[in-house]
């Protein structure tokens, strides 16, 4: 049955939209955007907000780095510095990186990839966006007006005693959590019940497998964060006592609860990045991903293992020796699925027709930087080493290699890869590649310096430091400028393409992926008719020349 001639019920806003028009043109005006139920428009609105959050978090990162350029005071006093790193951490974690790929790109592409017209619960999807906005306003207002200075982790007892607006900040986090849960719930149900004809579990794109694994974590971990911050709020308002030793409570319990969410949250951040890399690599090597099913299962095992290793954040916080050993051993297990993924990707590159586009460069950076981030994680998972490295810049560098070297590279790869599909415009490759080069170099300069000074004992979050760390802090700050410049070039490249970019053909990369077999930009309900898939998304040997037609004249791929 075709999508076009169905009565359109339930979609108040879209009911007058033209199903044969692209989702951008189906309805005009600002109103239809604000109350849209269309997963593509919601995804795009999420991307806008997420990019603004990334910009804000990035500015605070640059300010923190600038303050650390010289010893003592450079630009701001110590208390403002505390607020700035709290702002940087909280914005990047809660407002940017957690929703970035799932709520932005995932929302846009998951339904298209599973062959559905929308996610299972479009209305919840819209609410998820507005709940995100409300949570963002509450938490930002708390930090800016209420000057929260706890860092993004809100550790007790400091967070229960500091005279800042921790209660409203955590309420903001509570609200943001609901947004995340709703997105996850939607994805799980969509993948289970809305797959189109021919899309079996073994034909699901790896991006969908990644989103599905992420959604499982979102749904199972976030409620624990909700109750944790609820307890923290009660602790602050009524002095409840659950985390207060005076009243028989235990502040370490807060850390356990917090990391029971926040460690799985690390996989909410990195698994989507990995999911994008798999898509990009297959397209730009013209090969099926080697070990497709192992890759899919490794995403799921990361989701599972993520729940069992939270204790490794607390080796120095007071745990029994037995527990620390157990958590250390479990932590090493995470290396297995991560290793499976890296081997899948490198094996896919082997003998592939590698095409060095901007998204591909980001994907390759991801493999390189994520490997460094992952391997340094093993240092930290080792008990005897962690005691020395705990709370040093080594930890900071480690998680930035995973979060920024991993997830942000994945996010940028996805943005450039899908930009033509989302906007219908081609971006200019040359400045994009220049931007990539600066991002890659700037990132490594910033964080390699931090690895070195961390291994020499520079503690994280300190406002001041000893003279022997000065060269590393200087290098790191200069690196952050290069990185910032690169990101600005990328943003300008993408945004200017909206105005000046050439019109994109439906499949500019000549990919076999499902999402490229649709109109560009996609139609209001994604397809004229729900397609019947007879091959997997990476089966280049089964794809017809029509499937792979890039729409450019011979010898002129992507208008180069």
């Amino acid at each position: 049955m075709s999508a076009v001639d169905k009565p359109i019920a339930g979609h108040v806003d879209d009911s007058h939209g033209d199903p044969n028009a692209s989702y951008l043109e189906a309805k005009h005006g600002i109103g239809p955007w604000l109350y849209t139920l269309d997963h593509k428009r919601i995804g795009l609105m999420y991307l806008v907000m997420i990019s603004l959050a990334f910009l804000a978090g990035g500015i605070f990162a640059l300010l923190v780095r600038l303050e650390l350029f010289t010893r003592g005071k450079t630009i701001i006093d110590a208390e403002t510095y505390n607020k700035f790193f709290t702002l940087h951490g909280a914005i990047m974690v809660f407002l940017f990186i957690i929703p970035s790929i799932p709520a932005g790109l995932g929302n846009f592409f998951l339904p298209i990839m599973v062959g559905a017209k929308d996610v299972a619960f479009p209305r919840l999807n819209m609410w998820s966006f507005y709940i995100y906005l409300i949570g963002a306003v509450i938490s930002l207002a708390s930090i800016v007006i209420g000057s929260v200075d706890t860092g993004w982790t809100f550790y007790t007892p400091y967070s229960t005693t500091t005279a800042t607006a921790v209660a409203s900040m955590t309420f903001g986090v509570f609200v943001l959590g609901f947004s995340s849960i709703l997105t996850g719930l939607n994805f799980i149900v969509t993948v289970h019940t809305m797959r189109g004809p021919g899309i079996t579990w073994r034909r699901l794109p790896l991006f969908v497998w990644g989103m599905y694994s992420t959604a499982l974590i979102q749904v199972l971990a976030t409620p624990v964060l909700a109750i944790t911050v609820a307890l923290l709020m009660m602790e602050r308002v009524f002095g409840l006592g659950i985390f207060n030793p005076k009243l028989g409570g235990d502040p370490v319990l807060f850390q356990h609860f917090f990391w029971f969410y926040s460690h799985p949250a690390v996989y909410i951040m990195i698994v989507p990045g990995m999911a994008i890399i798999s898509e990009v690599l297959a397209t730009f090597t013209r090969r099926p991903i080697v070990g497709y099913f192992a890759g899919a299962m490794s995403s799921l095992s990361l989701a599972l293992l993520g729940f069992l290793v939270w204790g490794h954040h607390m080796f120095t916080a007071g745990m029994s020796e037995f527990s620390t050993m157990l958590f250390s051993a479990l932590t090493f297990l995470v290396a297995i699925p991560s290793g499976v993924k890296v081997f899948n990707w490198t094996a896919t590159l082997y003998k592939g027709e590698v095409w060095f586009t901007t998204p591909m460069l980001y994907a390759l950076s991801f493999i390189f930087l994520f490997s460094i981030g992952g391997l340094t994680g093993l240092f930290l998972g080792t008990l005897s080493v962690d005691v020395h490295l705990h709370d040093t810049y080594f930890v900071v560098a480690h998680f930035h290699y995973v979060m920024m070297g991993g997830t942000v590279m994945g996010f940028l790869a996805g943005m450039f890869y899908w930009w033509p599909k989302m906007t219908g415009k081609l971006y200019n490759e040359t400045p994009a590649k220049v931007g990539w080069f600066l991002v890659f170099v700037g990132f490594n300069v910033t964080f390699i310096a931090q690895f070195i000074m961390g291994s020499r004992g520079m503690p994280r979050r300190y406002y001041d430091y000893l003279p022997q760390f000065e060269p590393f802090h200087k290098a790191s700050t200069i690196g952050s400028w290069i990185l910032g410049l690169g990101l600005i070039i990328e943003a300008v490249t993408l945004l200017s393409s909206l105005k000046n970019g050439k019109k994109s053909p439906p499949n500019p990369w000549g990919s076999a992926g499902y999402e490229w077999q649709t109109a560009t930009p996609p139609l209001l309900f994604n397809f004229k008719e729900i397609p019947v898939r007879t091959r997997g998304p990476y089966d280049y040997h089964l794809a017809t020349p029509e499937d792979l037609y890039d729409g450019f004249p011979e010898g002129e791929p992507h208008g180069d």
């Binding site: 019920a9 108040v12 019940t193 009660m234 006592g241 009243l247 409570g249 319990l253």
Partner: protein, 252 residues
């Protein structure tokens, strides 16, 4: 709620096989029903994880001071707790019967069962109100308020500074002397039953909404998703209480 009925504005005559309640992005009513049901199950999983945090806290602190928990639990009224357990269990039965009669298309019976379920929920809250006010009166609100009857000392630092070393409670005609550390038991009691109470209220709003829809005739044997899912949610509310009652009222 997981699903929102379509507005059924565009009923094409040539597409009579397309039921009005089917939203545009689903292919079949069965797919829509499966999606809604799975959505509710996933949501219930998140609820259990949220309560899970409190259960873990209970487990840890009970393991640390079992004797204290045993002493403190005597301050709760077992009879009222048992009464509420029976009330909720019965309401779960009537919720299930409401689903059954909705499946059979018996609209009035569905309404009747929903009303009984709602009355039980209200009765539960009334009992809870009496329990709470007794505790608050005895100065058993946790934290800053602990040891101070009423809410007077709950905000500000005066409460903690002037906290008495022991709280005396009159319960079942016997006088209980509770040390300040017993605060933990009541912190957990109020957090757990309080969060559960919020869920009772949410459940009641859901059931009321479904009742109104049912009276307006939105449901049929082909389409009763809302009744089914709100009853499912109600069973969760019941289930959580089934664990709370022995953990809090029957400590041994």
């Amino acid at each position: 709620m997981a699903t929102e009925t379509g507005h059924a504005s565009a009923e094409h005559p040539e597409h009579q096989e397309h039921p009005h309640f089917l939203q545009h992005h689903f292919e079949t009513p069965a797919q829509q029903y499966d999606a809604s049901k799975l959505g509710m199950w996933v949501f219930i999983a998140t609820e259990i994880l949220m309560f899970g945090g409190l259960f873990v806290a209970y487990l840890i602190y009970h393991a640390q001071e079992p004797e204290l928990f045993k002493l403190a639990h005597h301050a709760l009224d077992k009879k009222l707790g048992a009464l509420n357990t029976v009330v909720l269990l019965f309401s779960s039965l009537t919720a299930a019967l409401a689903v059954r009669s909705a499946q059979l298309g018996k609209r009035n019976r569905t309404s009747a069962f929903l009303v009984v379920t709602l009355l039980c929920a209200a009765a539960f809250l009334v009992v809870k109100y009496f329990e709470y006010s007794h505790k608050i009166h005895a100065g058993l609100l946790p934290g800053r308020c602990f040891g101070h009857p009423g809410f007077a000392n709950c905000i500000g630092d005066a409460g903690l500074a002037t906290q008495p070393l022991a709280v005396s409670v009159q319960e079942h005609g016997m006088l209980l002397q509770l040390p300040t550390r017993a605060n933990m038991f009541f912190a957990l009691y109020f957090m757990m039953t309080g969060l559960h109470g919020v869920h009772v209220l949410v459940g009641m709003s859901l059931l009321t909404w479904v009742l109104i829809k049912n009276i307006k005739g939105h449901f049929s044997p082909e389409y009763f998703t809302h009744v089914d899912l709100s009853a499912l949610y109600w069973h969760l509310v019941d289930l959580v209480w089934i664990y709370l009652f022995p953990l809090l009222y029957l400590v041994s």
